[in-house]
Symmetry: C3
Subunit: 533 residues, 3 copies
């Protein structure tokens, strides 16, 4: 039924309940509050209303939903608040919940409404998922970037506006809009209420909150109620289709770039190939999700999130929104791949050198912040249990052995790049940690970043998920190798600049003193720039 | 019904009309001329005949079609020519229309047939669309490239064959085949009739025209009837399915590369993610296209082309084949992003410096050729009206504010690159405008091109359509930043070459004269090449 | 019916045949041996069992299958071995076939089972396909890489781990795991039996073979029975769906990277666009495959593999697993594009210079190993016959003429790159063939590789399949051009190093002797490295 018909019926009936099923029993219907919302929003924002009408939220009341087989439940609350349980979950249920906690709450046609629905709101019916998600690195993605001075400097060095003044490049830090448009799109912005603004609408003048950092659906968004995360990053509004969360394209929104090429790798893997070719006939809605019946190859969700069972209804993997409880390694090297962090808040990590990194610059792990081999073993076993639903133990052992080998060899290639960079710093042709300069702003430093962030990561993702070319020519080992040669050439080139300056110095003062001609004294303290004579 | 059965029936019945619907009324059927075509072509080119049989063209006569609800019409002619209206639209209707205007018309089994069906032909039934399309930059895409000496030089410098002679690279301009195979594939070739050629066929010897610039379906193709454009660029022959034109893959044919990464960005955007995950259940055929009912997230066509309505049948956006009437900015920077050109014929543009560019080399707009802020405002409002079908005003305002911020910051990053290039020209280490040399042939110039054509464009598309990674690591800001550092290094490297030459000169003539040793005189007028001693 | 139900029924019925069709005739059912497998594996590996249940193998017996219209047969054996013909093809049929030939055969619950099913096994029912595939370059992909010292060196130079010792990079050859994870993922590993390993299972202790080079499904895998190839590279286990083999994603597993970008090109081609937009309604299962009826645009399989017919049941193209019998050219340039090799075993090729390459370093073909123009003509005609099902002769002629033009111009651009490299070798700034050094390890050599392996290949694939941007900005001509400029700059840079050394030498010994100052004598025999003073 179209939403505006709803609205019309509500008007005609004075808001009473006149909709019945064909058997005389009442169909599930929205609350009166939601019906009031729909009266305007069916025409004001028809897209999201129609989208919501397709959702499970619009089709069943929590009261009915909890009567289902417990295993098939998508809501995890053992007890749904009374006032939410008897009508379907509509606009008002989410946007007026806990309104006192939301700084973006405003008065709207007699309701106290907030704009940004947060995990704390979703927890009313989905508390287990929200609790799990709080242990997910993603929920800390905002702070893990902005509160880590090294990572923030990497972001600033990439996103800042550079200008050329007197032959020298200087960097202006990125503005808030740029940050929201780049890193924080996925990591999450901080959404803050700036004030209220009056706006002319079809209903006359109305006041709405003005938000900074909005729009945003990043996984670690800082919300106006103080919570962090955004369920809609994966459970897209307002259909919240489990089908969508289970499909790999959802993950591609943040996991396709050269830094975390998971989706690209999946696409060309055998698993991705099966999904693309045959997935149209799979059942993406069934809960629990039955291996072999509902699908014949994993999507991202199968290995990392979903509750899966076999034909005998035995659980193969429990549903998790922590997502790292089957991940022994963090293969997104920052700077090296390493055992997974213990806490999802990685801003607390400090290595021995005092840098906020999970390893030393030379690769040794900051072990006290990382899970130990026993925990790694448990996570590997949990992951392998999924693999074993289709593959033999020998197959799986071979796959994981190659993967761990790849972690080692890519870390070695990162170490070599780091050593070249250290040499550049030591020889004074680039400025780094010791010179208290950004370690991300010079050309050789950017090459060094690409070594681990693009090429080592790509190679590891390819190994983990069998997307071969990403381990070779598509940002893989080919580039790991080539990049080292080019870093060496850069070093040679900059040393030439020094030599040339020495020679010039020697020649310009040839007769004054024999000792001055050695050139040593002329090594500049300042990094030489092309345009500084 | 299979085409060859048609052909057989036509033969058996002497061409008369023997096909009736089950209710005794005549089913729509092809003209006799088309039936004659089908007699051979059903077996000669079975693929396109079967494809056409799936088309709306093959299923309804214009006479019947115009009786439909006007809003749902796909043909825009108020009066269809009599001889076209009573049979379905088949081979003969399009390929024999206005044959006297077509230089590729030839005698073919008693018919005067032309090979290349053009917008002028389509205008018989779709005049409004053809008229709109004539205001689309795309329809001028051939001339906008080939008649602009700067852009043509860019193309030639990319596509020409370089050879190494005596240690120097020289460029041979690209041949016609190469141009047709690269830039003009999308921009459109000029299709010219070279002559007729006799060919042995299953029907005996027959003559066919030989065409230069063929095949081609580029958006700005110059046709043998003098018209420009190719409707089949998007409305793929011979099914001409509206479903296909509305799907984003159609646009990807020309809009995926690093220069205009629209499709790639869309793919990883939330909108693209919804389309990929749930689009299989959408209705891609309905006209007008109903927001929320027929689809729940925009494809390219929704925002840029299609007639869309809400549940109350109110028009959200009018159908347009001009496509830029909701585009305030041209974000494909040539060289900078700028207000949209007034005329689709951009070859008429000249900046103050006399270059055929919509901005100065330093970014200031050539305002007299560009739409003014008022027109920009109207276009932004028209576009936002679509957004507002699903998003609140605050959401939309935030999105557009970031987008315009990105236009500014990317233009700044392009300006910085331009300043480095100007320094290279001024210091004599590269040759540019003043030296009357190509501004696209040297390594630093190619890096400069990538700054705006790849990285700034990618960043802007990412911002416009929320495909985050394209604004960061996937050809985005990361590369904008890195590229500047590398341009500076290139400059330093080339200045070294000069210095080294000075030093050598100084050393080789050390005793002759004190004044000659300053080196100034030895700055070469010719750009130094690696192989010129 | 679920597999475990099968298992249960088998138990209850003592293994007898109790399943009947509704007409009283026996439904096809697995052999007793397979039923024994299913008893455990339905729960041990539910994914693959369920996948197999969807396969044609599980639905029909060979005996019934051979009764079908011969043209529609997917099995090519004229006589199926008696013991295979009366039950469906299940686990036991493939995994116990010819077990004496398989070194990975082991005793498993009373059966002699082997892990790796090979083309020799498949040949029992599909002998023609296996024979054809043996003429496919792919079947030799392992040896063509590993037995060719040039290609192997390319692989080693990309995949080896580089370390920095005393300021110099050195390379450790890649280990077996790395090779299996990169090149050999597609080319195929050599699967060898290392021994047996006892493992605790739900059924108690059992012994399983331990395999090296496992898992792998590369097209040229060397199998434990001595055969080469892996049918499951394209016919994915255990559904072996013809639908999947016919879809382009299958090919993308190995053909998407920058070296062989076939899938990427297809995706943005008009053909790919039609497939993506409308392919969901095509019939991917029909054999023979009817052009225009079953599909309206080619996938990879249509042009390269499948049996296709027109409406009159005339064969347009015969099924082939040789795949190159419609390929006149090998456009994956190694180093230049060239006429297709005669033998699929390319490790036998030697050029005049004695290198194992199909052309000289300067491009002239090693003709005795390549097909001649007559054979090329026949292959082109066979391919064009497919094109002509939808396109006119003029269209096809134009397309192929551009394609061959592109082969020539890209080969020219490769030649220019080679000449620059030769100059680098001759001038002593890089070490190549004459110095008995790897021709792939230095930065300029890697740039040279990218010239042909990435950019020339990409441009040619774009031309062959009309994926325009891959011929321009997406690794196409833009990079072909830019790369040459950068190679020249590299050469200049390294010559500077030499000059600088000369100058230093001159200056340090200024008074000793006039003749020593020429610098000629100081050209180092060893390639100068940045860190060697």
């Amino acid at each position: 039924m179209k939403a505006w018909v709803w609205a019309l019926l509500v008007i005609l009936s004075g808001g009473g309940s006149l909709i019945s099923g064909s058997d005389g029993t009442a169909s599930p219907r929205p609350s009166e509050a939601t019906e009031a919302c729909l009266m305007c929003h069916a025409s004001a924002t028809p897209g999201i209303v129609a989208d919501w009408e397709r959702s499970a939220h619009a089709m069943i009341t929590p009261e009915e939903a909890v009567k289902k087989d417990p295993r098939s439940l998508k809501e995890s609350a053992t007890k749904i608040p009374e006032d939410l349980s008897k009508s379907t979950i509509g606009c008002a249920e989410c946007h007026t919940l806990l309104s006192e906690k939301h700084k973006d709450t405003f008065e709207h046609n007699g309701f106290t409404v907030h704009v940004v629905v947060t995990p704390e709101d979703c927890a009313a019916c989905h508390p287990v998922e929200v609790k799990q998600y709080a242990k997910n690195l993603m929920s800390y993605a905002h702070g893990n970037l902005t509160k880590n001075p090294v990572y923030r400097n990497l972001a600033d060095s990439a996103n800042g506006v550079q200008t050329l003044d007197n032959g020298k490049l200087s960097v202006r830090p990125p503005d808030e809009g740029t940050n929201a448009d780049s890193c924080l799109y996925c990591h999450g912005t901080e959404v803050k209420v700036r004030g209220l603004k009056t706006k002319e609408t079809a209903m006359g003048k109305m006041e709405f909150p003005v938000l900074d950092g909005w729009p945003n659906q990043g996984v670690g968004r800082i919300n106006p109620d103080g919570s962090q995360g955004s369920c809609t990053a994966c459970h897209t509004r307002h259909q919240f289709a489990i089908e969508m969360a289970r499909k790999p394209q959802t993950c591609s929104e943040c996991h396709k770039g050269p830094d975390v090429p998971g989706y690209g790798v999946y696409e060309v893997s055998k698993h991705g190939n099966i999904y693309s070719s045959l997935g149209k006939e799979w059942n993406f809605k069934e809960v629990p999700w039955r291996i072999g019946r509902d699908f014949t190859a994993p999507t991202c969700a199968v290995c990392h999130v979903s509750l899966t069972v076999n034909d005998a209804d035995e659980v193969i993997a429990e549903r998790t929104h922590q997502m790292n409880d089957r991940l022994a390694w963090r293969i997104m090297g920052l700077i090296y791949a390493h055992a997974h962090p213990k806490s999802p808040d990685t801003s607390i990590i400090k290595n021995r050198a005092g840098l906020p990194l999970p390893t030393e610059l030379t690769g040794e792990p900051a072990s006290q912040f990382l899970i130990d081999p026993k925990e790694q073993g448990a996570r590997i076993a949990a992951m392998q249990n999924i693999c074993l639903s289709c593959h033999s133990e020998g197959w799986v052992r071979g796959q994981f052995s190659r993967f761990e080998n790849t972690i080692n060899t890519t870390n070695e290639m990162t170490l070599t790049a780091t050593k070249i960079l250290l040499e550049a710093w030591n020889k004074g042709v680039a400025k780094g940690v010791a010179q208290n300069d950004s370690i991300f702003n010079e050309a050789i430093e950017k090459k060094w970043v690409e070594q681990w962030l693009f090429y080592a990561n790509s190679t590891r993702f390819a190994s983990a998920m069998a997307g071969a070319d990403y381990g070779v020519f598509a940002n893989g080992r080919w580039y790991l190798s080539k990049n080292l040669q080019e870093m060496m050439d850069w070093l040679e080139f900059k040393l030439q600049t020094l030599k040339l300056q020495e020679l010039q110095t020697t020649m310009e003062k040839p007769k004054t003193s024999g000792t001055k001609g050695t050139g040593k004294a002329s090594v500049p303290k300042e990094k030489p720039k092309a345009t500084t004579p």
